[in-house]
């Protein structure tokens, strides 16, 4: 177990075996539970297939994508959604986590209460209450009515529909908040004390202590939220159905429509693999920039 022994020796040595032993459950999972569905979906992407009859068409599905205006639209909508919702949600979650990290009166209550929206998930009940808020006779319009502004449906308006969904996902900021909270708690108090001795005020210590120390967690949340945001489906599926005029037609909703409404499983699979590569590239870029702003202790 000498550190030097890691660098030389046979291709697989005892250390490597130990490592693979640690990885074993996950590796078994990949091989037995994930690989086969993945391969199947890739093969399907090369076929013209409704659920049941198939014909090999090579890259035709991928070629057809290029002239599919709904695909282009959905890609644009999805990217717009990711770019707006991810930073908003993360800064929101970090802001609340900063407020709730210290022991103040009732902090347990506030943490739980603010986590509640994320626990509700995306059920029919959520759809009902969200549309009640933003519908033509919803709360928002009632409030605007007090000021004499006559609002229409925010959800059915092509200019605002996407933002209604942005507000919904930002509202469910709980899981990012929890991760930030545990990250904030991991920052040694001594660092803050040192900063204070050096004469830093609260804002300075946030930028010079909190942010750098939290950067691995920020990176994590950023990457995960980006992936999750690219895959947003349920919110649009239960609330806007992709409309109006495709302004909320997220990629995964389009994939779902193609797979289960139009019964074009092959095309849907091709779309999925394109989405995988888009996400891979975007997260790869984020990862690449991380060496400039993420600080690791070790």
């Amino acid at each position: 177990m000498k550190i030097i022994s890691r660098k030389k020796g046979p291709l697989i040595n005892r250390d490597h075996l130990t490592a693979y032993l640690f990885l074993a459950p996950w590796l078994i999972g990949i091989l037995f539970f994930t690989l086969w569905p993945f391969i199947t979906s890739f093969i399907m992407s090369l076929q013209e297939t409704n659920l049941f009859s198939t014909k090999f068409v090579g890259l035709d599905n991928y070629r057809a994508l290029l002239s599919d205006r709904r695909f282009i639209k959905s890609l644009k909508v999805t990217i717009k959604f990711v770019v707006i919702s991810v930073p908003l949600k993360l800064s929101f979650a970090l802001f609340i986590a900063m407020l709730l990290k210290d022991k103040i009166k009732g902090v347990n209550f506030f943490r739980s209460a603010l986590y509640l929206p994320s626990l509700i998930g995306t059920s029919v009940a959520v759809a009902a209450m969200w549309t009640q808020l933003f519908g033509p006779s919803g709360l928002i319009n009632d409030i605007l009515g007090i000021f004499g502004i006559q609002g229409k449906s925010w959800i059915a308006n092509p200019k605002t529909a996407l933002y209604v969904l942005v507000i919904l996902v930002v509202w469910q900021f709980g899981s990012s908040m929890v991760i930030f909270l545990s990250g904030l708690k991991n920052i040694p108090v001594s660092l803050y004390e040192a900063a204070e001795i050096d004469g830093a005020n609260k804002i300075q210590s946030f930028f010079y202590v909190t942010l750098p120390m939290l950067s691995p967690i920020i990176l994590f949340n950023l990457i995960l939220q980006t992936i999750g945001s690219f895959q947003t489906f349920t919110q649009a599926y239960i609330i806007t159905k992709g409309g109006p005029i495709n302004e909320t037609l997220f990629m995964v909703l389009y994939i779902y429509n193609k797979a289960f409404t139009a019964s074009e499983m092959g095309y849907a699979s091709a779309l999925s693999w394109v989405l995988l590569f888009v996400i891979l590239i975007v997260t790869g870029l984020i990862y690449w920039t991380s060496k400039y702003w993420v600080y690791y202790e070790s």
Binding site: T131, G135, P136, G243, P244, T261, S263
Partner: protein, 423 residues
């Protein structure tokens, strides 16, 4: 001693399990799946219990859920070859189920002499009966009488023409000073009735006699038909007879229902949904048959509500068919099932239910009355359409209609676009 006792116990247990398993083998197990809400679950379970009592050799395993995800589950089961012996389906799923070879031809195994032949035909493909209708259903215009009275508008009475309906919609808008529209824009919302109204429109207004807008394999319409329909809606939008797209696009039959929120005085949906609307408001709602053409032409379809089909992988097709036969023909079943799936499919059953029926609610009575009226009109055969046509009805039509509503397209361009998608 103890050892002896234990070995005796083991032997006894062995014999017991053996005899149980032998006994169990004699019983025929049938898996039956359906979706619904608690009333339907209870009624169906009660009916199953009675059937098991009458047929002690059959053991029915109920598999029920809500509607959400039911289709995904059914198609996954079909792909894996473990679909239930009897499953619930609707006409829209027929093309895919046919392609998957998922259903058995049960012609001659279920007595359908009491069923309306048009419905039997609708459940068949290429002369093979792939399922049996569980409820007759029809499209209705739902009218809010309370709201109309408040606005001082005379309610419509059947029969009425398309022009009279549109005029009524406009009157609602005018009398309410623009607060209430006649009806939602049915074409503008993905869950809306737009495409089904289009089917009705083809027979009632465009003069088609059969197979509109598609038969069992392909579309049969041309650009002019679509354009005429889109123009009809564009005109209604122009005169505020129907609500603008940015209100209508999210219309549904619960949280966002324009009818329930008193934003419209009318709505079109299937008779089977009337109870849901009425349950959500204290206003007095009334279902009316759909409008007729200038010479009284209607376009009602013999469209099955829910269908029971027998799975290809079932080992007991005969027994499954026997259960369906009992479920759709017997008076005893009718007395238990009542209106849990809408209006019962056979005359015998409807009569049996009324006979027993001290518990028919006011809502059910309204539905039954309007269905009686509709069933007396001329009927058209309902076709299942080509595979994947749901994309046209629930995705492309609303999209095009929204674009026209927002002024991004003319009805002519919209019709061209839809024709292109059909191809």
């Amino acid at each position: 001693m103890l050892k002896k006792r234990i070995s005796f116990l083991i032997i006894a247990l062995l014999i017991l399990t053996l005899s149980v398993s032998v006994f169990a083998q004699e019983k025929i197990q049938l898996r039956v799946s359906w979706w619904g809400s608690e009333t339907r679950h209870q009624a169906t379970l009660d009916a199953i219990a009675l059937y098991e009592e009458l047929n002690p050799h059959v053991d029915i395993i109920p598999e029920y859920s809500g509607f959400e995800g039911f289709r995904n589950k059914l198609f996954s089961q079909v792909m894996a070859g473990n679909a239930p012996d009897i499953f619930t389906t609707v006409m829209e799923w027929y093309p895919d189920l046919r392609d998957a070879d998922a259903m058995v031809d049960i012609t001659g195994m279920v007595d359908v002499s009491g069923h309306n032949p048009m419905y039997v035909e609708a459940c068949s493909l290429d002369g093979k009966m792939y399922g049996v209708n569980l409820s007759v259903n029809g499209m209705v215009l739902i009218q809010n009488n309370t709201l109309l009275e408040k606005l001082g508008v005379e309610p419509l009475e059947a029969p009425y023409t398309w022009d009279e309906m549109v005029a009524k919609f406009q009157e609602v808008y005018e009398k309410s000073n623009g607060r209430v529209y006649g009806a939602p824009d049915f074409t503008a919302n993905p869950e809306g009735m737009g495409f089904d109204i289009f089917k009705y429109y083809g027979y009632s207004v465009l003069g088609y006699e059969d197979a509109f807008p598609f038969d069992n394999d392909k579309f049969t319409i041309n650009k002019e038909d679509i354009q005429s329909f889109l123009q009809f809606f564009a005109d209604m939008r122009e005169t505020n007879a129907i609500a603008p797209v940015d209100i209508s696009a999210m219309n549904d039959f619960s949280a966002n229902s324009l009818l329930i929120q008193n934003l419209t005085a009318y709505e079109i949906n299937y008779a089977g949904t009337f109870g849901r609307y009425q349950d959500q408001t204290t206003d007095d709602l009334q279902p009316l048959p759909m409008p007729v053409g200038p010479n009284g032409e209607s376009g009602d379809l013999a469209r099955p509500g829910l269908i029971f089909s027998v799975s290809k992988n079932s080992k007991h097709v005969e027994e499954a068919a026997k259960f369906i036969d009992w479920f759709t023909n017997s008076p005893e079943a009718a007395k238990i099932l009542k209106t849990s799936r809408g209006i019962l499919p056979t005359e015998v059953q409807r009569a049996a239910m009324l006979e027993a029926g001290s518990e028919i609610s006011a809502v059910d009575e309204k539905v039954m009355r309007v269905m009686d009226e509709i069933l007396q009109r001329e009927f058209k055969l309902a076709y299942v359409g080509p595979s994947g046509h749901a994309e046209i009805s629930s995705i492309i039509l609303p999209e095009i209609s929204q674009m026209i509503g927002f002024g991004l397209m003319t009805p002519e361009e919209g019709a061209e676009e839809i024709m292109m998608e059909i191809k």
